[in-house]
Symmetry: C3
Subunit: 285 residues, 3 copies
């Protein structure tokens, strides 16, 4: 198989980001979020600002049913209470039965046993996209114990092999967040270089990106874009908005406020013009 | 019965809004909130900004006892965990035993079975005020399955009959939020037309209004205003503050920040002068 | 014992505040927070803005293990679900076994039985620092039923004896928040007078200070500062940042945003120069 021939161009990825943003606003995807208690409000506000419709349906008896009618689902393991753990499995069952794309954000897996066990169970259910930092991706792939492993400062490349391996196992895409974001599937490696360090000073800066990916996966059901392209498109829109927000911000408080304003104001044409993206064939280790 | 003779004038409702705001700030009502995990922080900040005293007492063993000493209670069904469901019933029992007024916000009832069952149980316990959008009010009245029913864009009038029917069943008031807010009891229909579309772009924009209604019901225990007038007064104060907040806002992020500032700064005289309110007799369907 | 000879000078406390802030930013302490659902996001953002690393690990099966590797732990009783209550006891067990310092914030103890019982159990486990308002400290010491007792307006001195008594029982420090903050241990009474009344108009204004204390206790493991000095240092840094935030704030909404910006920008030299602090020997009642 000559993966090169199937690769999208950088321009095509940037164009998909602009198109998916247009589609999302024209027909707001219903995004179900099962996420941690720290970032629920910020995550919902990010989705609303962007133009999507958030719904935090995270209890058993409702989560699975709702996953069948939602456009995309986020499962974030930041504060996984017993009720949320059961609801996550129920939701993913409903999503997989209905063909609803879903994102797994394995927050802090590795050293913490409860979420790590749940993350492995969820991994076996083939998430459409996995999103995490390098440390989390390495831990989920079983290459480190997490936490004490690769620091965020090491950048995303340290997790490139682990990301591709996970993508091969799930048949989906894996996004590694960092100064350069790396989004891969079995054959493609997309690197994006927009954003601002202030995103790491706001709680939920990464978690909300997982929700934006679920929204873009929902929009991609209309355009036919692949999960790796949808995840890269979400990253581009979110991190370009972060650049706008950082301009004139006096610190992390005003940055977070301005990020919501910027997500609401960002235009597809600006995304296409400002995207810093490279596409390469995934290299077998 | 000639309901027309008992109707308050528009000027009287605007005047009650100003007076209740004055009373609320002079003797801050203790507002117990059992609300969803997405909006807890924003809701508490709205109440604090306005001048009320929020208390999120939402566990069994405490919720009922506290409802007996609080000035008003909000029960919002946005993310009803098993513990919250039990605490809601306990709290309402305590509220009804003590004569504490309470607000039911039946978020997303209709298609989702767990909250829909709970909402019906709570409806039978006679909430002082029910607050929702048109779709939720229609679903709670059993006229649609919710969600797939009337869209928010259809406005509040589509739910006018359902709202009056619910008010007749509970003996209280029902508030339908939308571009024009409709607040009814068995004999009265109050329409208010203040506000800004940005309220729909902030998570908790509607949920926090339910808490403000609970605060105004608490203040109304001193003035003797009826639930329908107290709910309309809360709507006027909140939506007029939203108009102030929208001026100069750069998007939903700065709007939410400015809404808290505006709720803190809003003066009773300004509320009375700027209220856009009409009062009519409820028409039997 | 001549406590006077062991007392730090006011200048020394101000100097410790500056030094601990420097140490905290050079080696960000990992701060585990088990806190209420209203303030989780704001608390994490306060820690991130300051330069610390928050981690909301609050489920059983993880909380105790994580307390063994964290730099400091906060246990806040604002919304104590059954799962959080069990996790709190597990976390404190892990913290005490590992020598991790921990802060108890007994929100609203006294009239509410569930949290009051838990607070007494936790009190027996010797928190490094207890932080609350005067009413909560009096209730925890068994001197009032709480709530109906001393109002915040009465100031912190009304709880001075109760605070010292609790400090003697735990061997740690007790911080009473108010217009003048009082931080005591068995032999020392530190009073600080920085801050702004807007802190009381933002939900989590006090709760987040408990988390900052846990962060400073973590940093104090490197400097050897005592708990009472670390708690006073945290109070100084936080309340001086609040003064910066209040300047130019238009109300509680913009104040909260500016507080995060100010915590990120505040410099150790400014803390040392602006600290309003007095140190006295604790007086036996």
């Amino acid at each position: 198989m000559n993966a090169r021939l199937q690769l999208p161009s950088s321009e095509a990825v940037a164009g998909s980001a602009a198109e998916l943003l247009t589609v999302l606003r024209a027909a707001p995807p219903l995004v179900q979020c099962i996420t941690n208690s720290v970032v629920t409000g910020f995550t919902a506000n990010v989705l609303l600002a962007l133009g999507a419709a958030p719904a935090m349906v995270d209890i058993t008896g409702e989560a699975g049913l709702f996953a069948g009618i939602s456009s995309g689902l986020l499962v974030n393991l930041g504060t996984p209470t017993p009720e949320q753990r059961a609801a996550s499995l129920e939701a993913v069952g409903g999503a997989n039965a209905a063909g609803t794309p879903w994102v797994l954000d394995p927050v802090a897996v590795g050293a913490l046993p409860v979420r790590t066990g749940l993350a492995r169970d969820l991994l076996a259910l083939s998430p459409t996209v996995i999103r995490g930092n390098a440390s989390e991706i390495l831990a989920l792939a079983g290459r480190t114990a997490g936490g004490r492993g690769v620091d965020a400062l090491d950048g995303t490349e340290a997790a490139a092999d682990a990301a591709r391996e996970l993508a091969e196992r799930t048949g989906g895409a894996v996004a590694v967040s960092g100064p350069v974001d790396l989004i891969v599937d079995a054959g493609t490696a997309i690197r994006t270089a927009n954003g601002d360090a202030l995103l790491t000073r706001v709680t939920g800066g990464g978690c909300a990106l997982g929700a934006v990916m679920a929204a873009f996966l929902g929009a991609a059901r209309q355009t036919g874009d692949s999960p790796v392209v949808a995840a890269a498109a979400a990253t581009l829109v979110y991190t370009i908005a972060a650049e706008d927000a950082a301009q004139g911000a006096a610190g992390p408080g005003s940055f977070a406020v301005r990020l919501l304003d910027a997500l609401s104001a960002i235009e597809p044409a600006g995304v296409a013009a400002r995207a810093r993206v490279e596409v390469a064939a995934a290299v077998t280790a």
